[in-house]
């Protein structure tokens, strides 16, 4: 799988390692949708999760795809700046990306271009701030 990714997106892959059944790659944002389509064609058709974390220096958005037949996982991370970040939405590739992307926006403030309903999902619509950022302070 890594070879296939490298052949098409070689320059966008910043790092890769295989740990057990997980192939962890770090890629650039511009090749996200293409890599997702390639992965889905190669059998990673199950979107397990889209989430993010605040590493204090940047925000790391993590996409986890699973293969129903082999049990392997593809974990792709993308680093984005801590404010004003925008990423392409995966909703054209995976229908199930709609809600987790809204949650990432709700919690971290990362906007996804091309998302059909880019709005908060868990918090109230008038909520200010993005709670899962490390710098977020409860009033």
């Amino acid at each position: 799988m890594l070879e296939k990714l490298k052949s098409q997106f070689g320059d966008a892959i910043e790092s890769a390692e295989q740990i057990g059944r997980e192939l962890r790659v770090q890629i650039a944002a511009r090749s996200l949708v293409g890599a997702a389509r390639l992965a889905k064609d190669e059998g990673f058709a199950y979107l397990a999760d889209i989430t993010a974390m605040d590493t204090n220096e940047a925000l790391r958005v993590v996409y986890r795809l699973a293969s129903l037949s082999t049990g392997h996982h593809l974990v792709a991370s993308i680093l984005v700046p801590r404010s004003g970040a925008r990423l392409p939405s995966l909703t054209p590739v995976f229908r199930g990306a709609e809600w987790p992307e809204r949650e990432v926006y709700d919690m971290f403030g990362i906007r996804f271009d091309g998302h059909p309903h880019m709005q908060r999902i868990l918090l109230t619509d008038d909520w200010e701030g993005y709670p899962l950022l490390k710098t977020w302070q409860a009033r």
């Binding site: 058709a45 989430t51 974390m53 986890r64 129903l68 049990g71 229908r95 809600w99 987790p100």
Partner: protein
């Protein structure tokens, strides 16, 4: 004599968040044309408690009780996903006895959860008797949990490295008794429900979820298996001792509410099989490995994945070497199953909304976290 058609408008009907049949605090904004549902917009977040943020302010053992309260109908599976992730980070090897006991606890939770599903699903379709029967059958399991862990519902039984307590005397006898007690009751439910004409009309052919859509939406568990996709984490990514046990993965090819109901009914019987095998093979030994008193996993990340009664429950733990995690993320199956709901509701009538929503068996605690 013909009558001119009266012009009509669509109506938006609000269902919830306080509603007896939404299985929690879920709000559905239904766009209706008469009785037919044109669109549905689920609004969630009414039970958002900020567990992931709280997790960053607690030590690893302190996070464990919070995991119980996510999918509160089957606490052990949440516990296990979290504990698995931490064990992977620390490289802890769980003793054999603990693995078998964990499987027993998981399968008892599965039966309790599916009994609650049958009870509430039938109650939503106005078969109130089965509600009382289902909860009556669930009580012996609650007694067993209480005997073992002290708590009926939110057991917090798992620990990093094994379990918190060994089973007490009399537990094995009680569990074996239950394995004999339940099957005739399940047959009774089959007689009451599965063959009942009204139940069948309200569930057969209702709420179709094609398998490709189910996979694309990230659905898992009986919602996915009710659409014919044979994917069960116990078989496809085995953990604990599931690869050594003999059981069937049940699927239904009808993709409707009845299919999802049938899958859960059959899974209860398979769970009893698994419990009996575990009781037969239960080895002696410790129930917890030697773990340091202060849990400080090395820096890194790990993902624990468990087949909960609702589907694929995952827990992602990122450690920075300190006593508190840098990030704890819970991947809830009901979150993804619920996202598929609008697709399943379009074109059906209001009366079917309750049946379809009940058949995917969500728990808002894990949807909202």
């Amino acid at each position: 004599m013909t009558q001119a058609l009266t012009p009509t408008e669509t109506m938006i009907l609000n269902m919830g968040p306080q509603h007896p049949s939404t299985h929690g605090v879920l709000r559905l904004q239904l766009t209706l044309d008469g009785e037919v549902v044109l669109d549905c917009k689920p609004v969630i977040g009414y039970l958002h408690r900020g567990v992931e943020k709280i997790g960053e302010a607690r030590t690893y053992p302190q996070i464990l009780p919070y995991t119980d309260r996510l999918d509160y109908l089957s606490s052990a599976s949440n516990n296990l996903a979290y504990v698995q992730a931490v064990e992977k980070l620390m490289g802890v090897e769980v003793p054999e006895r603990a693995k078998y006991l964990r499987v027993i606890l998981l399968e008892l939770n599965r039966i309790a959860s599916h009994l609650m599903f049958v009870a509430t699903f039938a109650n939503d379709l106005a078969a109130t008797t089965v509600f009382l029967y289902g909860l009556r059958e669930r009580e012996p399991i609650m007694d067993m949990f209480e005997m073992w862990t002290g708590a009926r519902l939110t057991q917090s039984a798992m620990r990093v490295g094994g379990l918190g307590w060994d089973i007490p005397d009399g537990f094995v006898a009680k569990a074996r008794e239950y394995c004999v007690f339940l099957p005739p009751r399940l047959d009774e439910y089959d007689r009451l429900l599965s063959g009942n004409r009204i139940f069948r009309v309200r569930t057969e052919g209702i709420g179709i979820l094609p398998p490709e859509e189910a996979i694309d939406c990230g659905c898992s568990g009986p919602t996915l298996r009710g659409s014919g996709v044979k994917y069960d984490l116990r078989r496809d990514e085995p953990y604990e001792v599931y690869d050594q046990l003999d059981y069937d993965v049940i699927t239904a090819s009808t993709c409707d509410c009845m299919g999802r109901y049938v899958v859960r009914m059959a899974e209860m019987r398979q769970s009893l099989r698994i419990i009996e095998q575990c009781l037969d093979r239960l080895p002696e030994g410790d129930v917890i490995a030697k773990v340091p008193r202060a849990i400080r996993p090395q820096a890194g990340e790990a993902y624990g994945r468990v087949e909960s009664p609702r589907g694929d429950f995952g827990c992602w733990v990122v450690s920075d070497g300190g006593p508190q995690p840098a990030r704890v993320r819970f991947r809830a199956p009901s979150f993804y199953n619920l996202a598929a709901l609008p697709r399943m509701l379009r074109g059906w009538k209001i009366g079917d909304v309750v049946a379809i929503l009940g058949s995917i068996d969500i728990v808002l605690g894990e949807v909202d976290r």
